[in-house]
């Protein structure tokens, strides 16, 4: 694990449609918030890590160069990491590695996206290989829906039961987003609203799917020495796991998703977690699709394979349940992709430091955050704790 590493500050923009502000200005907005939260200035920062989804999302290649000043990187070492949807966790891990290695004491990590400036599904379709799969792909929904179908078939989950549980995931995330001032979609939805919403990619309906958001997130990592000096209540990184898979969708079993499973196992091993359902207080799962949240719950060992719908229906992952998932409203209600995985981490930091406001899970001490990316291909997990 290297040196102990803490998160000493986080920042988020108000996510949503942001035609009022240029991309660099939006990014700079979040840097100022994070620096203020940590109580430091740019002078204290040793290096900057930035990430987005494909740069083509906004039509500017290498966005980190385009707004180096907005991320505070003028005169500092700068790195860009890009792993599609899992970018947010990748950049967090990069910041962690940088400090853990002893090569830097304070690192600023920034994730951003302005999805409404491009055509998000057209851009995401360019993530697919150009020879075999791109013509059939339909952005993210096409792939994720196939995974959900495969999962229900593999574990003999009746379609109606899957539908019911997915609707409940949607209702619960939307309820949670009402408590989150940064969330993009803030509206109450009912089970019937979800089940009757427009089909996007059968059986996935509009309210099973995340929005396209503009937004940014920044997280500041610090060494133990600095953290103890600067920050009254840091969150400590206890475990990081990341795994990749083959690029062709059909070459691994997405119903048990090896990369998600192994990334979590690696993070648990480092953090010394044996029974995640009991030991974790809160989880921020990357859930752009309702059905996928259930697959992740299984991969992360929150429940046995094929039983996530039962656990969802009995309320295990709801606010007030045994392991609340996505008290922020999750990716389902806010998805500026390059920032999303980092928002998951920032939200868990707020939870274990007691700063989550109306969405606070009472007494949360240890939390899991996660992001997924590529053609169902990458998964990253981070465990944070209030204790060193």
């Amino acid at each position: 694990m290297g040196r102990a590493v803490a998160v000493i500050g986080t920042g988020q923009t108000k996510h949503g449609r942001r035609p009022d502000v240029s991309y660099p200005d939006m990014v700079r907005e979040v840097i100022m918030v994070a620096l203020e939260d940590a109580g430091i200035t740019l002078k204290d920062v040793d290096g900057v890590v930035h990430g987005t989804m494909p740069s083509m999302m906004e039509g500017v290649s290498s966005t980190h160069l385009y707004f180096a000043e907005a991320i505070g990187a003028v005169g500092k070492p700068i790195m860009k990491v890009e792993t599609c949807g899992s970018t947010g966790q990748s950049i967090a891990h990069c910041g962690f590695f940088w400090v853990a290695s002893g090569m830097a004491d304070i690192v600023l990590v920034v994730g951003s996206e302005k999805m409404n400036e491009g055509d998000s599904q057209a851009t995401m379709t360019t993530v697919f290989d150009p020879y075999f799969q791109r013509v059939f792909a339909a952005g993210a929904p096409g792939t994720f829906t196939m995974q959900c179908m495969e999962w229900m078939y593999r574990f003999k989950i009746p379609e109606d039961k899957g539908r019911e549980a997915a609707a409940m995931v949607s209702v619960s995330n939307h309820d949670n987003a009402m408590d989150n001032p940064y969330a993009h979609i803030r509206m109450k939805v009912t089970m019937d609203d979800v089940k009757n919403s427009r089909i996007v990619t059968y059986p996935v309906r509009l309210l099973d799917v995340c929005p396209s958001s503009d937004g940014a997130c920044a997280v500041i990592f610090a060494s133990e020495e600095k953290a103890k000096k600067i920050c009254k209540k840091p969150a400590w990184i206890k475990g990081v796991g990341f795994r990749g898979e083959e690029s062709f969708f059909g070459e691994s079993d997405k119903s048990i998703w090896p990369s998600a499973t192994e990334a979590a196992q690696e993070a648990y091993r480092q953090a010394g977690i044996k029974d995640p359902l009991k030991e974790l207080d809160v989880a921020e799962i990357y859930n752009p699709f309702t059905y996928q949240e259930m697959i992740f719950c299984e991969c992360f060992g929150f429940c046995p394979r094929g039983e996530a719908p039962d656990y969802v229906l009995k309320g295990t992952f709801k606010k007030g349940g045994e392991l609340p998932c996505c008290p922020s409203g999750g990716t389902l209600c806010t998805n500026p992709i390059g920032a999303t995985g980092l928002i998951r981490l920032a939200e868990t930091v707020l939870q274990v430091t007691g700063k989550a406001g109306a969405r606070q899970v009472e007494g949360a001490k240890i939390a899991l955050s996660h992001a997924m990316g590529g053609v169902d291909q990458f998964n990253g997990v981070t465990i944070v704790s209030s204790n060193l």
Partner: protein
């Protein structure tokens, strides 16, 4: 300044590409022209992958043994796509699927078609998880993945 005064620039970025297929993919497409679906077998783990790979993604071994696989297979998963987007090649609605061809160990992404796709509930009665499908060839071959026009359910 009022909010509506903040403007937006509309633009399009068009970038041309010439992608090298390499040996394995060139040959796979050449076989399609002859209405043959060929995979490659890994000497180490013995898995047959379609589309073929020049190396095994798990063993990292060279894959040099060509194997002809069946033109029929099993639907591992499918999706009904009813979502249009900019530059989409196939017009909605359509069905994309993962098809495990007989004799192969991976899913091939392709279309399931050959029937009326307008009503999703009717489509659900025809396309089944675990159901068998069969390749339908395009008359005119271009040496690309659409030389297989689509897969149709086996009666």
């Amino acid at each position: 300044m009022a909010k509506e005064e903040y403007r937006i620039i509309e633009a399009e970025a068009v970038v041309p590409y010439e992608l090298a297929l390499g040996g394995t993919v060139s040959n796979f497409f050449d076989y399609l022209k002859e209405e043959k679906i060929m995979g490659k077998r890994c000497r180490k783990c013995s898995r047959v992958l379609v589309p073929p790979r020049s190396f095994c993604p798990r063993c990292f071994e060279e894959m040099d043994e060509w194997v002809e696989v069946g033109q029929e297979g099993v639907v591992e998963t499918w999706v009904y796509i009813n979502m249009p987007f900019y530059g989409q090649v196939i017009k909605v609605p359509y069905v994309s699927a993962q098809i495990r061809l007989d004799g192969s160990d991976s899913g091939l992404t392709h279309l399931i078609a050959g029937f009326d796709l307008t009503n999703v509930n009717k489509v659900r009665e025809i396309v089944k998880l675990g159901g068998r499908v069969k390749a339908v060839w395009s008359k005119e071959k271009k040496g690309n993945i659409l030389d297989i026009a689509y897969f149709e359910p086996v009666k």
